[in-house]
């Protein structure tokens, strides 16, 4: 159950010709999730910044 299913890095990338499908899906999926995290973090920082500025000015 815990044996590597592949023998070499090349095989991992190839996956008997299915590698292109598998890896493109994972790349797109992970990128989408990562980008959402980055956007969320940025928005949060901006919102906090705005409130701090408002606090400082009042």
């Amino acid at each position: 159950m815990f044996d590597l299913a592949f023998n070499s890095l090349d095989e991992i990338l190839q996956m008997n010709g299915h590698g292109i499908y598998v890896w493109s899906v994972y790349v797109v999926g992970i990128t989408a999730i990562l980008v959402s995290f980055i956007i969320a973090k940025k928005r949060l920082r901006e919102a906090q910044e705005k409130i701090r500025v408002a606090n400082a000015s009042s």
């Binding site: 159950m1 815990f2 044996d3 590597l4 299913a5 592949f6 991992i12 996956m15 008997n16 299915h18 590698g19 499908y21 598998v22 493109s24 899906v25 994972y26 797109v28 999926g29 989408a32 999730i33 959402s36 995290f37 969320a40 973090k41 928005r43 949060l44 901006e46 919102a47 906090q48 705005k50 409130i51 701090r52 408002a54 606090n55």
Partner: protein, 243 residues
């Protein structure tokens, strides 16, 4: 009494305080589980006898379509809370969950189509699951557009909730009707996951990635809902004190 109870536990303040505390744990658990699940699934799980290695898309595809529907269901519950008990937090949560739902639905659709190329020889089929997922995606977009088109945000909240509730009734109807309609043309030829017949060496990593993605998405939800709550409640005293 129910109303009082709900209002006590649904104040945006206590939500933000609680989730801010939980966030580091959730993101750690999520990242660990999802890496475990995916590494296991991609590298260690055995090759599928029928589909070959392309089945490994399952470890991303199945979790994302599960959450595509779960997030909508969550939004529908929030929408009811907003309409019935006027819980403000519920509307904030819908608004911040919708983009995440749209994103994960997109991932589900995309991974499904790519998976379809080596397996069925086509990237699109008008079967019940795929059609209803596409409709789900359109509905996420509709909800976001609807909310974005009003300057009075409270109006936007309420109209959005109405749309979400109507939509949740619609999804199963679409599923059933496509099923019914397409069974007339051809027998249901596509079934994505065959449930318990799946081998444990593939099932465990799948379960782990489902749980892992759940934690990751909750963490994402915590982040985006917090910034949305800050922008909506920026004039409240607790916000300026808490930040």
């Amino acid at each position: 009494m129910i109303t009082a109870f709900i209002h006590k536990f649904s104040s945006p303040k206590s939500f933000v305080v609680l989730t801010a505390k939980l966030y580091p744990y959730f993101i750690c658990i999520g990242l660990c589980l999802i890496s475990l699940g995916w590494i296991w699934g991609l590298l260690f799980a055995p090759e599928d006898a029928v589909q070959g290695n392309s089945y490994r898309i399952i470890f991303l595809h199945v979790p994302s379509v599960i959450y595509a529907e779960l997030i909508y269901f969550f939004m529908a519950v929030c929408a009811l809370m907003h309409l019935v008990w006027r819980v403000k937090l519920a509307a904030y949560l819908i608004k911040s969950a919708a983009p995440i739902g749209a994103m994960i639905t997109f991932i589900g659709l995309f991974s499904g189509s790519i998976w379809g190329i080596p397996t069925w020889g086509t990237w699109w089929q008008w079967d019940a699951r795929i059609t209803s997922t596409l409709i789900l995606f359109i509905m996420y977009l509709g909800i976001l557009t609807l909310h974005g088109s009003f300057s009075n945000l409270e109006k936007a909240d309420r109209l959005m909730s109405i749309l979400v509730v109507i939509g949740v009734i619609n999804i199963p109807i679409i599923k059933k009707s496509v099923d019914w309609w397409s069974t007339l043309h051809q027998p249901a030829s596509i079934s994505v996951s065959s449930g318990s017949s799946i081998d444990p060496s593939m099932l465990y990593p799948l379960l782990i990635s489902v749980i892992g993605l759940g934690f990751v998405l909750i963490s994402l939800g915590i982040l985006s809902s917090r910034s949305y709550i800050y922008t909506r409640e920026k004039n409240k005293k607790w916000v300026s004190e808490y930040v």
